[in-house]
């Protein structure tokens, strides 16, 4: 039976795969999508993957799929799953290899008219000052002991060691540091991989984009976030580099072996999981939190070098201020009302962004009247969005929204039959300049490889999960 016959329409933006769809499902899947987006999602195996997630032990509420969903490993990208902290499981695959991969948006006191004509200068300067691509080593030199402090203190350690300004860390999810991180639960290998890479962008879909605010849709929230039309902002997309990848690898190996002991079976081995309270589960969470702290420190380091680059090109009066920093690969303990009962759950966000509504105590005071900022980077050369969390997110999606446009084409399919010079020319004609280490890097991330970001954002806006605040347009991109 095809997906179109199995999916029940709830309304124009919500669809359900009922739990009787497949043996082993403990709950429904709810997909947030418009009909055209749903048709795109149904082309790969992501719906089947969301149904597999519904089989996890102790899953609370439905297995959720955001409109940017696409096929991942085990878990779909754009998936949210909450598990009970007492009798549910924790799954490293539900967080991903790039632990606390996330997005930070930085505003400047510059206008499009000032930066536009000098876009090449600033891109070249950033390319020199912010280590990116596959080169590896960064400019932040930390001793093994310092690295342990980074793993414990996250962005705050960077700020107190000269890599940033006092308010930077405050304007990050969780203040840029998760409690309960334990550096001893991060292997020596993970530390060896991560130590030279602190403050580096990485490669793949990681990037740094100079954008201008094209249009404001919610003036109250835009004012709170300090953005207005024509203003230059910079979006940073990076994660926990080799350190996070190794932490996930290490615990995946442990859990793959330990599942038998706990009598757990999964439909795909990448969904390997153990009970949250188990020794293995708690060790993973302590290591994952340390890796998450590394990622916030990493984006903080990048912010510091970005400031230097802007000051070199635009002078000492240039000011860069962090608007906010959100993670989109994480597992966090949070409390929600589920079927009338208040429960503590472990929310796995795999390619999904936290989107807390106004008055939530976990968002900075400056934003409390308007909701938490949520950043949705679009594909290279199109547009990105600033959103603000709404009460619907807490009521329905464990405080989560989408995290991007979502891939449509595989990386190889994106490259096939496309000419780099033509892609570059199209970008330049649109007034966008690109700097990338590799040719494949640019071709892989062409706009056609992604869903329409406006359409994706429209779904979460209309579903009452997060509202549109501002649309951003790129001027220049550094591809990792």
């Amino acid at each position: 039976m095809s997906w179109s016959e199995r999916l029940e329409k709830i309304d124009d933006y919500r669809w359900r795969i009922p739990r009787d769809h497949a043996a082993g499902m403990r709950t429904d899947v709810v997909v947030y999508a418009s009909k055209p987006i749903l048709d795109q999602i149904a082309k790969d195996r992501s719906l089947e993957q969301a149904a597999n997630v519904a089989m996890l032990q102790g899953i609370a509420g439905p297995s959720l799929a955001m409109p940017d969903m696409h096929q991942g490993y085990g878990f779909p990208i754009g998936g949210v799953a909450a598990t009970d902290v007492e009798y549910g499981v924790v799954s490293p695959g539900g967080v991903g290899f790039d632990i606390n991969c996330g997005v930070r948006l930085v505003r400047t006191n510059l206008e499009r008219a000032e930066v536009g004509p000098r876009i090449r200068d600033i891109l070249h300067q950033i390319f020199r000052d912010v280590p990116c691509g596959t080169g590896g080593a960064g400019f932040v030199k930390v001793s093994p002991k310092d690295l342990d402090h980074v793993l414990e203190r996250g962005a705050g350690w960077m700020v107190s060691n000269g890599y940033g300004e006092a308010r930077d860390a405050e304007f990050a999810e969780a203040g840029g540091v998760l409690e309960g991180a334990n550096p001893d639960k991060v292997s020596e290998r993970a530390k060896e991989r991560g130590r030279p890479q602190l403050g580096t962008l990485g490669s793949g879909n990681h990037f740094l984009e100079i954008q201008y605010v094209e249009r404001i849709e919610a003036p109250d929230a835009a004012q709170a976030f300090g953005i207005s039309e024509g203003q230059i902002v910079v979006l940073i997309h990076s994660g926990s580099r080799g350190l996070g990848h190794q932490v996930c690898t290490d615990y995946l190996r442990d859990m793959d072996a330990a599942m038998k002991k706990y009598g757990i079976t999964v439909p795909d081995r990448q969904l390997a999981c153990v009970p949250v309270p188990s020794k293995e589960g708690q060790a993973y969470l302590a290591g994952m939190r340390a890796a998450a702290n590394y990622a916030w420190a990493n984006r903080q380091g990048i912010t510091h070098f970005l400031r230097q680059a802007f000051e070199r090109v635009f002078g000492k009066t240039t000011r860069l201020s962090v608007i906010y920093d959100v993670c989109h690969n994480i597992a966090k303990q949070e409390r929600y009302t589920i079927d009338g009962n208040e429960r503590t759950v472990l929310v796995h966000r795999k390619g999904a962004t936290r989107a807390f509504p106004p008055q939530h105590t976990e968002i900075p005071r400056d934003y409390r009247d308007v909701g938490q900022p949520v950043f949705i980077p679009g594909s290279m050369g199109t547009a990105s969005w600033v959103l603000a969390g709404l009460p619907g997110a807490v009521a329905e999606t464990f405080g989560s929204a989408c995290h991007g446009a979502g891939r449509l084409l595989s990386r190889t399919a994106a490259q096939k039959g496309r000419d780099l010079r033509e892609v570059m020319r199209n970008l330049e004609e649109a007034g966008i300049y690109e700097k990338s280490e590799t040719k494949t890097g640019i071709l892989e991330e062409i706009p056609e490889a992604y869903k329409d970001v406006d359409e994706v954002v429209n779904v979460v806006h209309c579903a009452g999960i997060a509202r549109r605040v501002a649309r951003l347009r790129p001027l220049g991109v550094i591809k990792g």
Binding site: G202, S203, T249, R253, D256, A257, R269, S410, R411
Partner: protein, 138 residues
């Protein structure tokens, strides 16, 4: 018999590998991984190191073997160009890696491979022929 082929995946990449023996399969899987990660980097010197990996079935031994290679490459300890599997079983293996200490200038990443996944993993012997299917996260 072709040693391996690269397979597409929406966000990432995978490969299938084959071998007359388990030892040949594991060597071919390592070659496939290095083609994805490094392309055809040439070595000017030939050094050898020995690598061991363990697990609780052929799939987990395979993942841990490929992870060893990634770790050596990412940390700059070694850039392998060829692989000789000396001992192989469902719980452990060992192999010699031929190559040299990695010089990032001469052995750049082609694509940073974050990790080896267990997604739809398969390592089997079928009709006297070994084959594996692996996805990697990039």
């Amino acid at each position: 018999m072709i040693p391996y082929e690269i397979v597409e995946h929406t966000a990432d990449v995978g490969f299938r590998a084959w071998g007359e023996t388990a030892a040949e399969l594991f060597a071919n899987a390592a070659r496939a991984l290095m083609e994805i990660a490094a392309g055809d980097a040439e070595n000017t010197r030939s050094e050898q190191i020995t690598v061991a990996a363990a697990g609780h079935d052929y799939e987990s031994v395979m993942v841990n073997w490929l992870e060893e290679i990634l770790y050596l490459f990412d940390t700059g300890r070694f850039a392998p160009t060829d692989f000789m599997v000396e001992r192989i079983g469902p719980e452990s293996m060992s192999a010699r890696l031929i190559g040299e200490v990695r010089d990032p200038a001469r052995h750049p990443w082609k694509v940073i491979v974050k990790a080896i996944t267990y997604h739809q993993i398969e390592v089997v012997e079928r009709n006297g022929r070994w084959q594996a299917s692996i996805f990697v996260d990039i």
